[in-house]
């Protein structure tokens, strides 16, 4: 028992080191319009930490291109195949989402002019990234414990040290401070060792409560759902993302509830709850779809157009639900098996702000 627990702890440490050490090879090209020297400068090769953010790379990129930059100062931004990249999304998530077939190195274009402020939130360098991270951490803390007090009550020194650890990829420094937030790990029974849980236990010693009255624990999850062509055979043939509007960003926690007949929650089960419209596990629904398809085969040509319309409408709906299915799920660059325990994924593959970022590729009809 104790040995098994220690072994699990060792695996968790190994997973954390791999997540924190994960990096995407980047080849950064200077945008043609921003080149002021001939010949154009060579692209800049670097590693982008998966759990890091693009704006944090700007100082070294600026140094590399310093001889070819236009005069003056403007907000720096990045682009991939015409799509401005959201700086507040971790690098690894952008890569997993936008490169259907992982592109190594990942070719990005850096711009020093023309910030697309109608598409991207403003970015004032490291300070913006830090606050984006801290606000996400506060949000995750609220999801897990029901309030953000453990983050709000951090000392200024601890906040700075925590952010420095994230910025530098310092896992040990991060753990020194983050363990004090008491935000994990999640367990199958929905309990979690948090400050509020301890407080509840103290309260329960004073005032006996009815069993099971505690609020169910929630897991912070951010989903990025991308549509790919329905007839896709190989993932590398997916059309590139041209517009952020075709990506559904879903910021929704997963509520841990004990499911009858299951010893643990699978990734598939969690996704069924978070993305119900993309899973047709209900046999009754499948039966209805089949019967709808059957009706079309036996449709009488003498039937009036008014009667035909509802049938075609229901067929269209059946088509949508039938064709919209999950092709691929990526977390930290790993294509996960649907049977993997969800809470293991949440505990071991999450980002430093305690969010589990899940990229989902869904087959859809062409729009």
């Amino acid at each position: 028992m104790a040995a098994a627990h220690e072994e699990a702890a060792a695996w968790s440490e190994e997973a954390a080191r791999r997540v924190w050490g994960g990096a995407v090879p980047l080849q950064v090209h200077l945008h043609d319009a921003d080149v002021t020297a001939l010949p154009p400068p060579p692209p800049f090769l670097t590693l982008g930490p998966r759990i890091g953010y693009l704006p944090l790379l700007i100082p070294v990129i600026k140094a590399h291109f310093s001889n070819a930059l236009p005069p003056g100062v403007d907000t720096v931004w990045f682009e991939y195949k015409g799509l401005p990249l959201k700086w507040y999304v971790p690098i690894g998530v952008l890569f997993d989402l936008l490169c259907a077939d992982p592109e190594r190195p990942w070719n990005l274009i850096v711009h020093f002019r023309g910030y697309p402020s109608e598409i991207l939130s403003p970015c004032e360098g490291e300070e913006s990234v830090k606050w984006s991270y801290m606000n996400s951490l506060k949000e995750a803390t609220f999801v897990i414990t029901g309030n953000s007090k453990s983050v709000m009550n951090m000392s200024q020194a601890d906040q700075v040290a925590l952010w420095e650890s994230v910025m530098k990829g310092n896992l040990d420094g991060y753990k020194n401070i983050s363990t004090r937030l008491k935000l994990g790990p999640f367990e199958e029974d929905g309990l979690i060792r948090t400050a509020s849980t301890e407080r509840q236990r103290q309260q329960s010693s004073d005032e006996p409560e009815s069993p099971g009255s505690g609020k169910p624990c929630r897991v912070p999850v951010r989903l990025y759902v991308r549509g790919v062509q329905e007839d896709l055979e190989d993932i590398e043939d997916a059309l590139p993302v041209r517009d952020w509007e075709i990506v559904s960003y879903i910021n929704r926690p997963f509520e841990i509830r004990k499911v009858e007949g299951r010893s643990y929650i699978t990734l598939e089960h969690a996704l069924q709850i978070l993305l119900p419209e993309f899973f047709n596990s209900d046999t009754q629904t499948a039966g209805e779809v089949e019967s709808a398809a059957g009706d079309s085969d036996t449709m009488n040509p003498s039937r009036s157009s008014q009667e035909v319309e509802p049938a075609s409408a229901s067929l269209r709906e059946a088509d949508i639900t039938k064709k919209a299915k999950v092709k691929l799920v990526r977390v930290q660059g790993i294509e996960l098996d649907m049977d993997i325990p969800f809470l293991w994924v949440a505990n071991n593959l999450r980002n430093p702000e305690y969010y589990l970022h899940i990229c989902v590729y869904v087959a859809t009809r062409k729009q």
Partner: protein
């Protein structure tokens, strides 16, 4: 079940939808000023299919004068049309100073509270910057904004539109909504119904959106 209990200041998704429908209905019943449009419910769509459960509230096309434009209009009235050139000048400067705002109320699954997103644009459609929006904020909000730049009003991605909108940070909403609802001693079901109206009384003030008092009369 009309909605979950709101003892902790939070609101369930069902409660949000119910409260939103109540607000839309109530807003139409009272006689709001002519310059205030109606709240409308906008269902959100994913992968092209509209959702029956998810959506957000929208109040769009709210006109706000820039500082001083009201005085100019008053002076214009007093001029009695004596000087045609002066009148034209007043009208032109008045229209140049008009800002048009859109307000959206979106449910946050994380914080289990409504969140206000808003943006403004000039008559030519140009989006307003934060500095321009400050002209329409009350002095209290300007003070908080100068002290808490990163955690009060910021530009964040609108959850349904994937574009940057100004937003009020929701991390403290459940705390002050709990206090606000504790004061009103009504049944739990009705609290859920009145949640958005009560929330709007605080949030509207923070962004200079005047809410008619009739909204709160029985």
């Amino acid at each position: 079940m009309g909605g979950s209990p709101v003892g902790d200041g939070t609101l369930s998704l069902d409660g949000f939808n119910t409260s939103a429908a109540a607000l839309v209905k109530r807003w139409k019943e009272i006689e709001v000023d002519d310059f205030l449009p109606d709240w409308t419910w906008k269902p959100c769509s994913k992968m092209g299919a509209p959702s029956e459960v998810e959506g957000y509230l929208a109040l769009e096309g709210v006109y706000r004068g820039c500082g001083g434009s009201q005085e100019q209009i008053d002076e214009n009235d007093n001029s009695d049309g004596a000087d045609a050139v002066a009148c034209d000048t007043w009208v032109q400067s008045s229209s140049d100073n008009v800002h048009v705002y859109d307000f959206h109320v979106v449910y946050s699954y994380s914080y289990k509270v409504p969140v206000l997103y808003f943006q403004g644009h000039r008559s030519d459609g140009q989006l307003l910057t934060l500095d321009e929006i400050k002209h329409n904020l009350p002095s209290n909000s300007l003070k908080v904004l100068s002290e808490s730049k990163w955690t009060f009003i910021t530009r964040e991605e609108h959850p349904h539109l994937s574009r940057p909108w100004f937003t009020l940070h929701p991390c403290a909403t459940s705390d002050w909504m709990k206090l606000l609802l504790e004061e009103s001693k009504v049944a739990i079901e009705e609290q859920s119904l009145r949640y958005l109206s009560a929330w709007l009384s605080v949030v509207g003030q923070a962004v200079g959106l005047k809410i008619p008092l009739e909204l709160y009369c029985n």
